[in-house]
């Protein structure tokens, strides 16, 4: 029991991301309200962003702004600097996430105008009665 707990504490960042991801996934699959589904999708994406960011972190690492010449001569200790690449990747992923959310919100607006509700069951009911 204690060893499992140690395991969880030692890698707590990954556990947080897994829990967040499962919450998002449940909301996307299990909820019947479209807004909740979209929120679930955002939580899901945020979990992955957090996962990437946490992989770049190092204990005692400083910001990765370096003197070019010092870096080229190999005077920089990589263990002292946080890996910037995951951050850069996630900037792009955030942009992608925002655009998907934007499109989803616009589509949702059209659904609401047409059916007057955002509950999936009610919408399907209305479509069947058409």
């Amino acid at each position: 029991m204690e060893s499992i707990l140690d395991h969880v504490i030692a890698k707590y960042n990954y556990w947080i991301y897994v829990v967040l991801m499962m919450i998002g996934f449940y909301a996307m699959i299990g909820k019947r309200n479209l807004v909740k589904k979209l929120l679930g999708m955002n939580i899901f994406q945020t979990a992955i962003i957090l996962f990437f960011i946490s992989t770049g972190a190092k204990k005692g690492g400083s910001i990765p702004i370096l003197d070019k010449y010092a870096a080229l001569q190999g005077q920089v200790d990589v263990n002292q600097v946080v890996n910037p690449l995951p951050h850069v990747l996630m900037l792009t992923a955030i942009v992608v996430g925002v655009s998907v959310t934007g499109v989803a919100l616009a589509v949702m607006q059209r659904i609401y105008r047409k059916y007057g509700t955002l509950e999936e069951d009610e919408i399907l009911h209305k479509i069947e009665n058409e």
């Binding site: 996307m28 992955i48 499109v103 989803a104 589509v107 949702m108 659904i111």
Partner: protein, 495 residues
Amino acid sequence: MKSNLHMYVMAAPLLTAFLVNIFGRNNRKVIAPMVLGALGLSSLLAIAVLKRTLMLGDLSYTAGAWTPPWGIELLVDPLSALMLLLIAAVSFIATFAALPCVKRDLEDRQHLFFTLYLILIAGLMGLVLTADAFNLYVMLEITSITTYGLIALGRGRAPLSSFNYIIMGSVAASFYLLGVGYLYLLTGTLNMADIARYLPALQGTAALSTALAFILIGLWIKMAFFPLHGWLPRAYTDAPDGAGVLIAPLMTKVTIYLMVRLMLTFQSPTFPLISMDVRTLVIWAAAIGIVCASSLALAQRNLKQMLTYIIIAEVGYMVGGAWLANDQGMTGTLLHIVNDALMTLCLFLAAVAIAYRTGSLHFDNLKGLYRRMPWTMAFFTIGAFAMIGVPPTCGFYSKWYLLLGGIEAGQWEFVVALIFSSLVNAVLFFRIIELAYFGSLQDSEHHAHASAEPQEAPWWILSPLALTAVLLIVVGLSTGPLVNNIIRLMIPVGF
């Protein structure tokens, strides 16, 4: 070899997308020449790229002069050049039919439609070109976001179908991104060829299996591989006609190509990516998928909906063929990607032509169509024969390779599923042909306003349909050179 040539293929639709948005806003007349001009240019350049790769080998472009493996590389080999040409040609042909449909359905939003349309095409080309795993994610999302928008422009329940697609598509993209994250942690690089170098050392680790599983499941959702296909039928049925002719032939096929390309890049004699037990599982899933999707297609009473289930069955063919992991199966898969794109294009163009004239694709409405639209139905019949796999149409040859591959690998369930699906296709299409040929207009309740006079679709839709039908036979007859000169070259030894 360093080259910029293949970048122009992608740049033409991408830049025109913005120009269409700016100039098309006030003057609708400029939209058609701009879109057709850009895609025509793309097609010509794609032919040049294919010729050059066959003569000189791979062409590579490094974005921002950051050398790979650090920078993003856009690489084109003969196979991706073939895919590039396929995308350019199919989108060029589809645009002719899209123009009149969009003009009718979305009168005052034509410039917006074609902005999305062109960005989608550029995104598909980017998917084929990129050699960087993260860049692939970005391209995947560019194509998906534009597709969500295009589908939501449709009538009826299109927004809801689009929303479901957004949810499923985002799950898929997130899975893929997570897989790439794991691979980056394991190898420290994002360049696909560079990742492949490190893989043999990581063989058998749980982290690597998880990474590959996430990537594959992500791609399988995007390509609608059974049982992850739930979003596809409604989304493709409800899409506006002008978008359907582009999305249906290309989206799933390009995603399958991505899976094949990852498999070919990662696979090496020291790293057998395709282990025996996973392979059997995937082929069983493909076989069950083919049978289920074909059976579901039988239950449909609407032509377009039936075609969407056939697309899902065809995805099963190609995924199964690739995982047979032998020469014949892989050849069949790559050939079928090309053929299926053309067959789907032909059938969707015919469906659009029928819908343009009659307004509905319900089976009851198809009665007596051979008399009213003889040419459209003649080309539809060629497309149907290709889908069934009647020689000399191209569908026969790729199915033949897939069957040979299945027999060689001893995967009999896949062989049985392929034959079953071909038989079902025959039933499906002969049912429609019977209805359209023998079904009398008198039984139809529409006989009051539906005349028996020939009433063809406009030239804008009929001529691309005719061209595609001819292409089906031409590609079928030139299977030999296509396989020997391009496809066989790309399959590594020992596959």
